[in-house]
Symmetry: C2
Subunit: 258 residues, 2 copies
C-alpha cells in the first residue's frame, strides 16, 4: 500500500510512459492509446512500430487521437526509456531469469511511489512473443497479469488497459479516493422509525384481516416480515406506497368508479 504522497497521486499518472516495442498491428496502437487515456495516462512511446502513423491506429484510438499525435517514435528501447528512473517490463509468463517478477497490482503500487519523484516506464513487447531477453535487460522489474494458465493470451491493448487500470486504482488508493460505494446521495428521505412502526402495525392488521396471520398461532410471522423490510431501508415515500397497498387490500377500490 503506497503511503500518502506529496503531489496529488492522480497527477502522477502523467509521470508514466507506455512503451510499445515493435508493435505489428497499428490498430493495437490506437486501442492502447484509448486504454491509456481512459485511465489518465498520456505519454506513448513506440519503438520501431511496423506502421505508424496509420489510419487504423487513429480509428481505434477514438477520442484519444491526441495521444497518437504526441507519441514519440524511437529506433531503440534505450531511447524510449531515456530520462526514466524505473522501467517495468510486462511479461505473460514466468521466465527462468533472475528478474524480480510481481503481479500487476503490486507493480502498480510500487510504481506509483517511484513516480512521485521520477518518470516510470511500462514496457510492452510484440503481440506474438512479448519482450525479448535483450529488452527485458532494460527493465528493473517484471510484472505479470495472473491470467488463466490454460489461455493467457491477452490482446496487447487489453494488457495495457489492465496495467493502466491498476495504476489508476493505486493512485486513487494513495489519495483515499477509491470509492467502494459510489451510490449517488439520494435526495429521498428515509422513513422514520415511527413511520416504520406504523407500517408494521398496518401490515399486521391487514394480515389478520385477510386471514394470513392466525392470532392463535402467529409463528413469528411478523418478526420474519420485519426482518425482510428492515433490509430495504425504506424511504418515506415508499412507506406511503406500501401502506396504500395495504389499505386497498382491506377495502378494494371500485375500478368502475373511474
Amino acid at each position: 500500500m503506497p503511503t500518502k504522497l506529496a503531489p496529488p497521486a492522480l497527477a502522477l499518472l502523467h509521470n508514466f510512459r507506455v512503451v510499445l516495442c515493435q508493435t505489428s498491428h497499428p490498430g493495437n496502437i490506437g486501442s492502447a492509446a484509448r486504454a491509456m487515456k481512459t485511465m489518465g495516462l498520456q505519454h506513448l512511446y513506440l519503438v520501431k512500430p511496423d506502421r505508424f502513423p496509420d489510419a487504423h491506429a487513429t480509428a481505434l484510438s477514438t477520442g484519444a487521437a491526441d495521444l497518437l499525435e504526441q507519441a514519440i517514435v524511437t529506433d531503440t528501447l534505450a531511447e524510449a526509456l531515456s530520462g526514466c528512473a524505473f522501467a517495468i517490463g510486462m511479461s505473460a509468463r514466468k521466465r527462468g531469469l533472475s528478474h524480480e517478477l510481481v503481479n500487476v497490482r503490486s507493480a502498480a503500487s510500487a510504481a506509483i511511489s517511484i513516480a512521485a519523484t521520477q518518470p516510470v516506464a511500462l514496457v510492452f513487447g510484440t503481440e506474438m512473443s512479448g519482450l525479448s531477453n535483450a529488452e527485458l535487460d532494460h527493465c528493473q522489474l517484471l510484472a505479470m497479469i495472473q491470467a488463466n494458465p490454460d489461455y493467457s493470451s491477452l490482446n496487447l491493448a487489453a494488457a495495457v488497459q489492465i496495467m493502466c487500470y491498476e495504476l489508476r486504482m493505486a493512485a486513487l488508493q494513495a489519495e483515499d479516493l477509491v470509492d467502494d460505494n459510489l451510490t449517488p446521495n439520494s435526495q429521498a428521505e428515509f422513513a422514520t422509525i415511527d413511520s416504520l412502526e406504523g407500517f408494521y402495525a398496518h401490515l399486521e392488521e391487514t394480515l389478520l384481516h385477510i386471514g394470513y396471520l392466525n392470532p392463535v398461532a402467529p409463528k413469528k410471522l411478523m418478526e420474519r416480515l420485519r426482518r425482510i423490510y428492515a433490509r430495504i431501508r425504506l424511504e418515506k415515500e415508499e412507506v406511503n406506497l406500501l401502506r396504500g397497498i395495504l389499505t386497498l387490500t382491506v377495502t378494494p377500490r371500485k375500478h368502475d368508479k373511474y
Copy 2:
C-alpha cells in the same frame, strides 16, 4: 474481502455469465470472448446482437472461438438472466437512481461470494449508450470502473476485460492465491554470511590497494558499500564472479596470453 469458500474459488468463475446487450460491432463480441477466457470465464450470452455469428467476431476471439460457439443468443435480457441469482449491471457513469453503485473491485468481491452457491450475471449495455433504464431494472447492483472523468469511454471488450480480471483477482484472493511476488524459485543458492564477509574483506583490501579507500579517512565507505550489496541478496555464484573482478583489479590478467 471474501471469506474462504468451500468450492475452489477459481472454479466459481464458471458460475458467471457475461451478458452483452444489443452489441453493434461483432468484433467487440469476439474481443469480449477472448477477454473472458483469459480470465477463466466461459459463459457468454448475447441479447439481440446486431450480427452474430460473424466472421469478424470469430477472428477477434482468436483462441476463444469455443466461447462463441457455445454462446447463447436471446431476444430479451430476462431470458439471458434466467436461472441467475444476481445480476450486476456495468455503468460508465453515476445515475440518478436508487440502485446501489459500487466500483468493480467491490462488485467482484461480492459477486464471488454469491457465485459460491448460485449463478451470477455481468450485464453490459451497447457500445454507444450503455444499459437502458429498463435493462438496469433487471440488475440488483451497478458496478462502475473509476475511469478518467475527462475521458471515460472504455471500449466494450476493455470493460469486460477489467471486470473479468477483477473477478479472477477476487477468486484468487479467496484462495490466497494472489502472488505478490511471482519470481520463479531460483535453483541458485544464496551466498552464506561467511562468504559475504569474505567478499567485503576482499573488496576493502582491493579498494585500499587501488587507493580509493583512505585508511586515515575511511568516511564510512565500507558501510555504504555493504548497504548497496545487502540489497541485492547475492547468490553464491555471483559472489565468486564479483571476487574474480576484485582479483583481476589488483593483478590484471595479460590478455595477450590467450
